[in-house]
Amino acid sequence: MIRLGIDVGGTNTDAVLVDDDKVLHAVKTATTPDVGDGIVTALKRLVAESKVDPNRVNAVMIGTTHFTNAVVQRRHVAKVAAVRIGLPAAATLPPFVDWPADLRALVQGPTFMIEGGHELDGRPLAPFNRQAMKEAAARIRDSGVEAVGIASVFSPLNDESEQEAAEILAAVVPGLSITRSHELGRIGLLARENVTLLNAALVGLARRTADGFVRALADSGIRAPLYITQNDGTVSLAEQATRFPVHCFASGPTNSLRGAAFLSGLGDAMVVDVGGTTSDIGCLRHGFPREANSNVEVGGVRTAFRMPDLLSIGLGGGTLVDPADASKIGPVSTGYQLTERALVFGGSELTCTDIAVAAGLADLGERKRVSHLDHRFITAALARCHAMLTESVDRMKTEAGDVPLIAVGGGCFLVPEAMEGVSRIVHVPHQGVANAVGAAIAQVSGEVDQVFQSMKREEALDRAHAMAAERAVRAGALRASLAVVDQEDIPLSYLPFDSLRVRVRVVGDIEAR
């Protein structure tokens, strides 16, 4: 089975062809302002250089940091309407209440709080105010926003209010993109609402981005199904993924970590992924990224996601170095303009890549363009890079002993050859494209989320596990590789017959066919 993995990063677009457990070929190209152009370039080179017939590709997996970057860099996020259904509860904490002011100013459109929602025991909290919802819908229509996020109190237990609101909105505002909170989150109104609103703000971008991906594939003569990688290391068909772009948050680092595990054969290790703009440090446990426990912030917004536990620092190949002070490195980066702005490429700005080339650690551009740099300055700047990485790896370590560190990413020449607290630095072939490899080997999942009645909890969980496993296998997972990654059950005391809502998620490797 041949899988094509693509990683669209802020600086580089990488593509790899993976045949079962072996990397056939890899290319690295610059990300372009229109991401589709960069993908076309990468695919053309990949096909030409590997001589693999595009028709033999079984699946294409794209991982992208595009949506996370949009939130973090406050670009391309849409203004959205917010509908909270739950008055008279929580009136003092309206939607967007804990968002950073700059992002809030960009995203917050017409915001409404309306009577409705449910209690813990399933009774209505207050009668759903249809009239207020209709008036809100009219104002949303008049405002011209293209997306709305709806969150009602206790919607994970009873989604009636969100459904009613969605129906009214769809009728009054044709074409409005609607995100309902119960589709995305768990108990915890504010965090669930935040995720819902972020999702609404990104749906337009996701649709345009996915269209670009589809065109790029078609232009390259590839007709295999397109999947987009999610932050739990699995993939979703592009169409589904564009409805829920928030699920792609942090999928890039997840792919890097999974790619590092695949390329090194190590299941337990630290990983540093030095990209063009940042270095991400994570931790592999049994081949999977260690997850962050608590509430994860995305661009300063508190969410309730499962995400890899990562430390990101502003250090990468494109990171700017102060020519007057070698200790001043970053956080500003040339981003995708590295090949225009860095000295070795004929530009006028001093970057970490220039330092590495001058030190003989990397062979990029023209070395003579950095021959004027003072030897002591180069040593000092490199020492600073090493110190930044060493400190970050130490912060992410959770065990006392020395552990191996896998160095990946296009800028991994910045990683020192030895590090305190690290048993060895592991370099792997194709280390510059580990993220694209991670995308190519992404797993598939099977999920069950339903109410079981008239049975013991153990039986309900067993049945849910079996159903989720069956769905994963049907989606292409190898049965022997299945593992439960998420499980949650809530008793619904308002329903008769010992009702239990069970949510189970099972993932597995794609079966080679």
């Binding site: 509860a89 909290l125 915890g188 065990e399």
Partner: protein, 365 residues
């Protein structure tokens, strides 16, 4: 010498939120929502003064407030400072006189925050003490119940402005069972003003300086995070506590009943506890922990489950499969461990046929 009165800053409250959540021993709800509301009040120029209970006159009238209900209900319905403030004015109207200050019913979790919100809204100072020294699920589990102080009158309001004034109750158990029924009918969340107290009650029948303690714990966590050292160890060191277990959650069993959240969490050990198991029961708060099948720690010792990496407290309503958790124990206030105290808050008060034996060696107590 009592501590001088002190103007509470938003910085103090940020630390208090982290510390109070840890003292919540899994219950009382995450103070985050109250912190969000406090940021609005403090941003608008409001604030409160924290006063030492030892500086009160014996007959100073003190309001004692908190929310009651299931933390899971608070996750969705959140908090509302104006509502909790209204329970105080409702009580004042009934009594015919005004309060001089507000004290915490329960320092642990979100409830510790309520006097700060109400104080900012009503312009009243907050007394540095509470009636639990942690969080507990029931009104008869307070120092006031242990000292047999009157349990009434009592006011309570829900989000729809249903309100109840309870003018008499035989004891705290009756007060608990009557108000619990009302609270459940309202959707497992109510704002309450408990039986009014005097300055003398605050001085001799409460847990002293617990707001300061919560702020101290919060500062220890924040300082450890800034220094990239282990925040869990920092809490243990700051409070002469004990690290009991480090592990990963393998199962969470929850059931909502009678307005409470009950259940059991099972963990398997990591690091030095590899190969071991830990099980902890909860009734809103963590109540009893078993290591490898043997009882290891019980109420009233404070059982706190913290995020192993961030040191953030983990609540019984938010703990989930796969989380990496550190179980620590903190010493309980002496009044809870007295023979009378144990009748109210010992393992038997939670339905366990167990004698209380503190996890702490004599020297620490």
């Amino acid at each position: 010498m009592p501590n001088p009165p002190r103007r509470i800053t938003l910085d103090d409250l940020e630390a208090f939120a982290t510390g109070a959540w840890i003292l919540g021993t899994g219950g009382g709800g995450d103070p985050y929502f109250s912190l969000l509301e406090a940021r609005q009040h403090w941003g608008a120029g409001k604030s409160v003064e924290l006063i030492d209970p030892l500086s009160l006159d014996d007959d100073d009238p003190i309001a004692c407030i908190g929310q009651m209900g299931a933390p899971i209900a608070m996750q969705e319905k959140m908090v509302d400072g104006p509502l909790i403030a209204r329970t105080i004015t409702m009580m004042e109207k009934h009594l015919g006189w005004k309060f001089k200050a507000i004290m915490m019913w329960e320092v642990g979790g979100n409830n510790g925050f309520q006097p700060f919100l109400a104080g900012a809204l009503l312009g009243l100072p907050v007394v540095d003490c509470d009636a639990m020294g942690r969080a507990f699920p029931r009104a008869d589990m307070t120092t006031f119940a242990i000292r047999d102080l009157p349990a009434y009158p009592w006011t309570m309001i829900d989000i729809r402005s249903n309100s109840v004034l309870l003018t008499e109750a035989v004891d705290w158990t009756w007060m608990e069972s009557m108000t619990r029924k009302v609270c459940t009918a309202w959707g497992s969340l109510a704002a309450t003003c408990k039986a009014p107290r005097t300055g003398r009650d605050a001085k001799v029948s409460s847990c002293l300086h617990t707001a300061t303690k919560a702020m101290r714990i919060g500062r220890a966590v924040h300082a450890a995070r800034r220094a990239h050292t282990d925040p869990v160890t920092a809490v243990v060191a700051s409070e002469q506590g004990l690290l009991v277990f480090r592990g990963k959650v393998t199962d969470v069993l929850r059931r909502a009943s009678e307005g409470w959240l009950r259940g059991t969490v099972t963990m398997e050990g990591l690091d030095e506890n590899r190969g071991e198991t830990f099980r902890v029961d909860f009734q809103n708060e963590w109540s009893v922990g078993w290591q490898n099948g043997d009882v290891r720690v019980t109420v009233p010792d404070l059982i706190c489950l913290l995020d192993t990496v961030s040191g953030e407290a983990i609540g019984t309503e938010t703990i989930r499969y796969g989380q990496r958790v550190s179980v620590i124990a903190l010493p309980a206030p002496a009044i809870l461990m007295s023979p009378k105290g144990l009748k109210h808050v010992g393992p038997r008060a939670f339905g366990y046929d167990l004698d209380f034996k503190t996890i702490f060696p004599e020297a620490v107590r």
